[in-house]
Amino acid sequence: MKTILTAALLAVALPAGAAELRFATTSDPTTLDPNAGNSAPVFSLLINVYEGLVRRDRDMKLEPSLATAWEPIGAGEGWRFTLREGVTFHGGQDFTAEDVIFSYERGSAPESDTSSWFAGVERVEAVDDYTVEFYTTEPNPIFPDSIANWMMLDKGWAEENDAALPSIEQGNFATLNTNGTGPYMVTERQPGLKTTLVAFDGWWDDDIGNVTEAVYQPVQNSATAVAALLSGELDLIEPVPIQDAARIEQSDGVDVIRGIEARVIMLGFPHDAENLIAGGEEGNPFKDVRVRQAVAHAINIPAILQTVMRGSAEQATQLIGPGLRGYSENIAPGTYDPDLARQLLAEAGYPDGFAFSLKCTNDRYLNDEAVCTAINAMLAQVGLKPLYESMPVANYWTTLRAEDHDMYLLGWSPGTFDAEHPLRFLVATPNEETKMGSWNFGGFSNARIDELMPMIQSEIDEPKRQAMLDEANRIMADEQAYVPLYIQPLVWGVKEGVEVVQRPDNFLVLRWMNVPE
């Protein structure tokens, strides 16, 4: 922990107009190594420290970062990136093509948690110090989108410190120390307690607010975090429990900033199960599309949004939210119609409903347990007999992977911000070799979508690609592969006057923040 002495020295050292930001989220990043953890908490913090070739602007559009330009090579053989000159790492080293090649080798190594980004990359070549070419086995139109979180490390620094490869299981120098090119440097790292970031004077860009020092602390209990914001001990908390937003808005000196996250919350079905795990009956009623549609019509999503989510979330029509690349405009939101639900159940041969299990998390998504409790009641109201069980996320994925579920709740945030992402992970038929469908717990399988997948992945022509995505999304909606519920809201609490930019990936981008002085 920081001593008072250094605190005093730092306070003296800060230039005029300097501002400190104290912020908290619920979970501390597991590592500071950009290749050892592929999760939102890790990238949310590291995006302030490390930079990629490309980055996302305030509206999630790609923009140049360490690469000033990029273009396809030939007819989809790969991508060529022109690097920015004059960029230095926090440690003073120059950023060149050598570092890109090194970062590629590091990020795509089997030891890395980010290797799937480079699955289709055949080889990478440095044409000169400031030009790098990526050759892919298939044309890959979204390659630049998929590497927005791929961060550049300095080759010399990593090798000197025995951190040439990431280590998830042992940890190494890069777990606790950073050397990026980004706007902030990590000056202090105490895992689980406190992380201090200080503005980097030598940053190449000037799109930066007035935060010169940012102190991050994880606060797990959201009621505690709200109390700390209200009492002035914190300047920014994320997330604010939805129910507390109104109270914070009314309080003096604090504000709530709302946005929409890229995460879609949905219900899954046991498509490929022979029998349901609950009820003890033979057969699987969910194989009948009418039963799945009945479930969709039984759920009063507007009511859930109105009460449980306090009006701060939007209904989802598909597995991604509007505004993301590949979103299909032609799909209407599901409608609440309990009579139709009962009728569909009767037509499918279940006029008296049937028993099935409904699994949910109780510590993963905003108000997940309350949403499921409400869904449980709504399903019961059309005559179904859900056996609802909620559990901590530590048990949840294991339960789903063990096929110990019928219906289940799932949230998905597309890492590439593209409609292809959820199709690949949640909709394509599970296949270990093609690495598709790895989160398709229900085993949904549609031949046409499987046929479309490789075509979508390699189509360079935007309208053609969109047409295929529209078709796939259409099939998903008609087949009721999932019940898309809503898009998770972003609710941040800030001290009055703190200006922030909320991006749908829910990253805390310090350089877009301004703190009242």
């Binding site: 290797s115 895992p191 209990n221 109390a227 009492s231 001990e233 510590d363 294991t398």
Partner: protein
């Protein structure tokens, strides 16, 4: 006596080994650490590689043997969540818990003894009766709720005290302390009340009943009859004689305070080993859970051993009987 101690130490080692075995046989039921360690874009190959690297494919007995082999050298492995040595993490977190436990213990002891003596002396007074009843409120509500209510009242409404964390701490090299800064001291107040409330009630009631008993004994009556002042009788004679059981129970409770500060630390985001343990459970951080349980067992076993030895030493009957407790 020496034979007794050796036998007990031997039994204690067996207990420790048993704790480890039970723990390791059951960790896989807590969840799968791989789910937390790898991101959503992981592949089956990634999962297999990591599983192998962490030794999770081995039978639990092998994992346990490996853990034991390293633990005897003081190496508790690498935390899954933090990717650094568990012993280092625990060393960092221990001061926070120990300071909190110390303040809670002192609070429980002083207030508990004070109120216990008062309620014993004024056995039938209205104030004593009120204190007796009101003190039960502290043990009739769940700790987390007491903590949240205290935060709400003193942190949010009145804004007198910090709502979370340890405040500024001073690093003494091998120990970090919150005792030397005003924010550190302020931060200690609410959590230590929350944590110490239960023990306070316990000690108060214990002192009261011991006092009541001692006050009825002949030598106290005799002291009174001799004309000694009430103050002298109450404190020099009566209270002194209640101290042995109070010290014993406090000793046992100190272990309990440290071991079970989990809830208080979670509510107040207190950076101690209890919070570390809860995080480890949520993350299925097996090395941290194992080390924590081992340390807690060592502590309990040692305290139990000391108390038992103390009993044998204090109560000669047990020695004559040769009965081992």
């Amino acid at each position: 006596m020496l034979a007794y101690i050796i036998r007990r130490v031997f039994q204690s080692v067996i207990v420790l080994l048993a704790v480890g075995l039970v723990a390791f046989s059951m960790f896989r039921f807590v969840g799968d650490p791989i789910e937390n360690l790898l991101g959503q874009e992981r592949t089956v190959q990634d999962v297999e590689r990591l599983r192998e690297a962490l030794g999770l494919n081995d039978p639990f007995a092998v994992q346990y043997a490996r853990f034991l082999g390293r633990a005897v050298t003081g190496d508790f492995g690498i935390s899954y969540r933090q990717s650094r040595p568990v012993s280092q993490i625990i060393a960092e977190r221990a001061p926070a818990t120990l300071e909190l436990a110390f303040v809670s213990g002192v609070l429980a002891l002083t207030v508990g003894i004070g109120l216990g003596v008062f309620t014993a002396i004024r056995r039938d007074g209205w104030a004593a009766n009120i204190i007796m009843s009101v003190s039960l409120i502290g043990v009739s509500l769940p700790t987390f709720l007491i903590g949240i209510l205290l935060i709400y009242l003193f942190g949010v409404q009145l804004r007198w005290l910090p709502t979370f964390g340890r405040g500024d701490v001073v690093d003494l090299g091998w120990w970090t302390t919150g005792f030397l800064t005003s924010s550190g001291l302020k931060s200690l107040i609410l959590p230590s009340i929350t944590l110490g409330l239960f023990q306070m009630t316990l000690i108060m009631r214990l002192v009261r009943s011991e006092m009541l008993e001692v006050l009825r004994q002949d030598y106290i009556r005799f002291a009174r009859a001799r004309g000694l002042s009430a103050k002298s009788v109450n404190f020099r004679h009566a209270l002194k004689n209640t101290m042995v059981p109070v010290i014993t129970v406090t000793g046992l409770q100190l272990g309990a305070i440290i071991a079970f500060a989990i809830i208080t630390e979670t509510v107040f985001q207190w950076p101690g080993v209890g919070l570390l343990f809860i995080n480890a459970v949520q993350f299925v951080d097996i090395p941290v859970m194992a080390a924590y349980l081992m340390l807690i067992s060592v502590m309990f076993v040692m305290i139990n051993l000391l108390v038992d030895i103390l009993y044998v030493w204090v109560d000669p009957r047990l020695r004559i009987d040769g009965r081992h407790t």
